[in-house]
């Protein structure tokens, strides 16, 4: 019976294997490296991420490949999202480097090892085609993040944030698992493409499916951080060390988007009429509460946390409007607009938190809005960069955030939800207030803090590149948009 053992095709999962092996190597290398030579660990981590990117492109086949008994899928959407993921983590680590070095408990090599394992978890989620791998990837990501939030262990705020994140995260994982078990009960399979095919035949029991779907959507909503499952976001963003906030706020959104697409669109598209209603409620509430609550914040990390909630709500509009009343003609535009939105959001959020890290230094966190006062007098160039980020997040033309919102709105209108589009525009207008307030503080107020910026050159260069990318991609959004359309057509629609 077991004589015909076949070694699974490892090539599609080559980046994952490389990353896992390198994380183990770095973990061991860290033991033998003196504290003064900590840069070696940093360099090894960055080389690993670059190596993953190279391997990703070399092994790209342009076909949908399944391996590990259909638990792993490699398609264009996975390739594109993973490539963005490597670059995001690469940039995030450059931004965090100085901050981490200045804070003793975090200055160890474990920070980089945990980051790599979290990245591995996200890659597993992006490529998952099985409930089991989705869950394991999610846990790998979450466990690393819990530890990273608590890493600055002498800070009460960090410990509290980690505790809150841990308890609520465990609850959300429970919800997700419960939903998965219900769907397994109704279909008898855990494989997502298998579930999709089985549901097409209409044999499965609808009541049990919808019951499971509710829990599944609740679990996903928690991971995306949309209302009413958003309570952890402001506290965790605020309490976590800024370097970790930058990481949590950017890269995991890509993985959460991929899992949403795989579960809801690949697996449960026949239930679209049921989950559409849920997603519309979630997204309208998120845009309302996110944008309104952000106005009242004085801490910029909290403000960006509420802004994250509203952006994820906006992104969900794109996922919602793919199939209307069983008609899937709009699907390509809608899903690719959502993907474009999430990629551009990650780009903007990395830059914004990068700016907070730029203004921070040893013993001082620049996480209040007042710390941005008069930035123009201290550094006109970086004030300009921050202005680009804020304009882009507010959706002012012609930055990338504008096109992201525009594409999603187009999909919403094409699907016939006029009222939804109007609500989205109104909430975005309300949101523009607190983004523009940051710009006002930078340009029209006197600086409270005249200390010159101390960030290293590599960070300045990358941060400038990040800001310019937001501006340039805003002028030429087609480059990214074509990639998203290709990825969705290739991976999801077929």
């Amino acid at each position: 019976m077991f004589d015909n053992f076949v070694v699974p095709d490892l090539l599609p999962a080559a980046p994952e294997l490389f990353l896992a092996a390198m994380a183990a190597v770095i973990l061991l290398a860290d033991v033998f490296i003196k504290d003064s030579r900590r840069t070696v660990v940093f360099a090894l981590t960055q080389l690993t991420l670059l190596g993953c990117l190279v391997i990703q492109f070399v092994t790209m086949t342009g076909e949908v490949t399944f391996t590990f008994s259909n638990m792993f899928v490699d398609d264009l959407m996975a390739d594109l999202l993973k490539a963005v993921l490597y670059m995001t983590v690469f940039v995030v680590l450059f931004y965090s480097r100085g901050y981490v070095l200045d804070r003793e408990p975090m200055a160890k090599g474990e920070f980089y090892v945990l980051t790599l394992f979290a990245t591995l978890g996200m890659m597993v989620m992006i490529s998952a085609n099985h409930f089991l791998t989705i869950y394991l990837g999610l846990e790998l990501l979450s466990l690393s993040l819990y530890a990273m939030v608590a890493m600055n262990r002498d800070s009460v705020a960090s410990t509290e944030a980690a505790m809150k994140y841990f308890v609520l995260g465990a609850l959300a994982s429970g919800l997700l698992l419960y939903g998965m078990s219900m769907i397994y009960g109704a279909t008898g399979t855990l494989e997502i493409t298998g579930i999709g095919q089985l549901l097409m035949t209409g044999q499965a029991n609808k009541t049990v499916l919808v019951f499971g779907l509710v829990f599944l959507v609740a679990g996903l909503a928690f991971k995306l951080g949309v209302v009413p499952f958003h309570m952890w976001i402001p506290d965790v963003y605020h309490g976590a060390p800024t370097a970790v906030t930058l990481f949590i706020g950017s890269a995991p959104k890509l993985a959460a988007f991929a899992v949403t697409m795989r579960l809801l669109v690949t697996g449960l598209i026949t239930l679209s009429q049921d989950w559409q209603v849920m997603l519309i409620i979630l997204s309208v509430l998120s845009m309302a509460i996110g944008n309104l609550a952000a106005i009242a914040q004085t801490n910029i990390k909290r403000m960006l946390a509420y802004s994250a909630i509203s952006h994820m709500g906006f992104m969900l509009l794109g996922v919602t409007t793919g199939v209307v009343g069983g008609d899937a003609r709009m699907a390509l535009n809608a899903y690719s607009s959502a993907m474009f939105y999430v990629v551009s959001y990650v780009l903007m959020t990395a830059g914004s938190f990068g700016m907070i890290l730029l203004l921070s230094r040893a013993g001082f966190e620049a996480d209040n809005l007042d710390d941005f006062k008069g930035l123009n007098k201290r550094s006109p160039w970086f004030a300009g960069m921050m202005m680009i980020m804020m304009f882009s997040m507010a959706g002012i033309p012609f930055f990338i955030g504008f096109f992201a919102k525009f594409a999603v709105l187009q999909a919403v209108v094409a699907a016939g939800y006029m009222w939804l589009a109007i609500a989205a525009v109104i909430f975005s207008l309300i949101g523009a207030f607190y983004y523009l307030r940051v710009v006002k503080l930078m340009y029209f107020d006197q600086p409270a803090d005249e200390t010159p910026l101390v960030a290293p050159l590599d960070m300045r260069v990358l941060l400038s590149a990040n800001g310019l990318a937001v501006a340039v991609l805003g002028m030429f959004p087609d480059i990214l948009m074509i990639g998203c359309v290709l990825a969705i057509r290739h991976s999801v629609i077929a």
Binding site: F5, V6, P8, E110, L114, L143, Y146, G363
Partner: protein, 198 residues
């Protein structure tokens, strides 16, 4: 009644008795020891059902590792059993109601027509044991989740160390020979520091 049935009743009787004693024993250490007995008898019942892997796993993992740790914790803590017992009759009606509710819910779920999945027909060939079958599956079809689970355990280990390890403790001692050579300027140092915000 054949021998196997006899063994089954014997083990089950011990299992039921031990489980009852777990919740009725006054001494928490006794309760933990009865729980070990219950696990052990449970392992025996599974072995009778030819699930020898599960039987060994419960004895190795639960009896060998989890319960020893549990016993250790129970012995370390000073648990006042009488204080815990206070208000037992007061809470009994609520507890009983919840218990009955859970039984009803369980019955509804198990009896509902949605979850009547027919038992799997696939049987292992006679010459292949349960353990071998599980092992082969784990390293062929399920190798990917299996490796991921091991990485998760590794992350758990790293996280625990990161959050608790505070570096080696070096003992402090003073060298009297060096002490007598100390000068005033070694003891006090005047620093010029920039003013830090916060």
């Amino acid at each position: 009644m054949d021998f196997q049935t006899l063994v089954f009743f014997f083990l089950s009787a011990i299992l039921v008795f031990a489980s009852l004693r777990v919740i009725t024993a006054r001494n928490p250490v006794h309760a933990a020891l009865y729980l070990i007995l219950a696990f052990f008898s449970c392992g025996g019942v599974w072995a009778l059902l030819q699930a020898e892997f599960l039987a060994i796993a419960i004895i190795l993992v639960y009896v060998g590792a989890v319960m020893v740790l549990f016993l250790f914790v129970v012995m370390m803590l000073d648990i006042n059993i009488d204080r815990i017992r206070q208000g037992f009759w007061h809470y009994l009606p609520l507890g009983a109601l919840l218990g009955v509710l859970m039984v009803v819910e369980m019955g509804l779920v198990l009896g509902s027509k949605y979850f009547q999945v027919p038992a799997s027909e696939a049987m292992l060939p006679a010459n292949i044991s349960n353990t071998k079958g599980l092992g082969a599956l784990m390293f062929s079809d399920y190798v990917y989740p299996f490796e991921l689970a091991s990485i998760i355990l590794l992350v758990g280990m790293i996280a625990a160390i990161v959050l608790t390890y505070r570096g080696p403790k070096k003992s402090k001692y003073t060298n009297p020979a060096k002490q007598v050579f100390v000068k005033a300027k070694d003891r006090i140092r005047v620093l010029q520091m920039p003013v830090e915000k916060d």
